[in-house]
Symmetry: C2
Amino acid sequence: MRYPDDSLIALKENGYRLTATREAVNKVLYDHKGPFTIEMVSDALPGIGRATIFRTVRLFQDLGIICRVNMEGGAVRYQLASTGEHHHHFICTVCGVVTEFIDAHIDQAVNRQAQGADFELNSHTIDLYGVGSCCSKK
Amino acid sequence: MRYPDDSLIALKENGYRLTATREAVNKVLYDHKGPFTIEMVSDALPGIGRATIFRTVRLFQDLGIICRVNMEGGAVRYQLASTGEHHHHFICTVCGVVTEFIDAHIDQAVNRQAQGADFELNSHTIDLYGVGSCCSKK
DNA sequence: TAGCAATTTGATATTAAGTATCAATAAGGA
DNA sequence: TCCTTATTGATACTTAATATCAAATTGCTA
């Protein structure tokens, strides 16, 4: 997922309707970049009901357009997924920016662990918390 | 953390008072075993206010006695930590049971990733979702 | 072991995230 | 254009959690 239109295409491809509301939410996400909360989107689109924002965000999640990020304290952020693929997160605890990464090594080790423990693995999440280069003091 | 008294010792060692409420909550956790929600504890201890249950659970978390587990859908469970140490989770999506594991390999790979990305790593969480041996069909 | 300061608690209100309901509206294929 | 179906808004509700503050409890300490 790179361009705003990708979201709209994804909607159509999955049999969802292309509505003004969904376009508006999509635009806000792409204009804003960076992590966002439901509140932020809701504030940016006063004409659209809260419930619809939630619905749209959930739909975009399901389509892999955005990903949900659990902050350390339990707060929730969303962010455009740079890839719809499986990935992990660097989460900057200073500014909240989330960067994605892929690591075949880790995934392999995770699979080994699961096998060793007789655990039928369906999915996994890996979140790294710390200070990103975005906020590094140097 | 293995025995109920460990919690009480941890409280004292960290300068917290040993109260009837905290003992009661602790007992519920050890009697129940397995994952629990605030509701469950609250139901088991009708005489104790909800806010206090939350406070106590948070305190126990801070002391490493219990750990918080984010379920896939966003629900939250808590469970006695079998170790206060750094660890990761197998989360059975059928029954909710959480099993801990440690994997130096994964931790190493995680550290490498962080270094490579110029990310000052403070902590990380790894949660594996799937069907545990507890609920395996075989 | 009674007294007292500081911690803890309960009741209550509040916040935040999210879901449920349902009538009204909009999308898009025929 | 019409019509079925998906979507939306308003509203109420749920769940998880925190804030406030007076009242109760701890555990020194004299």
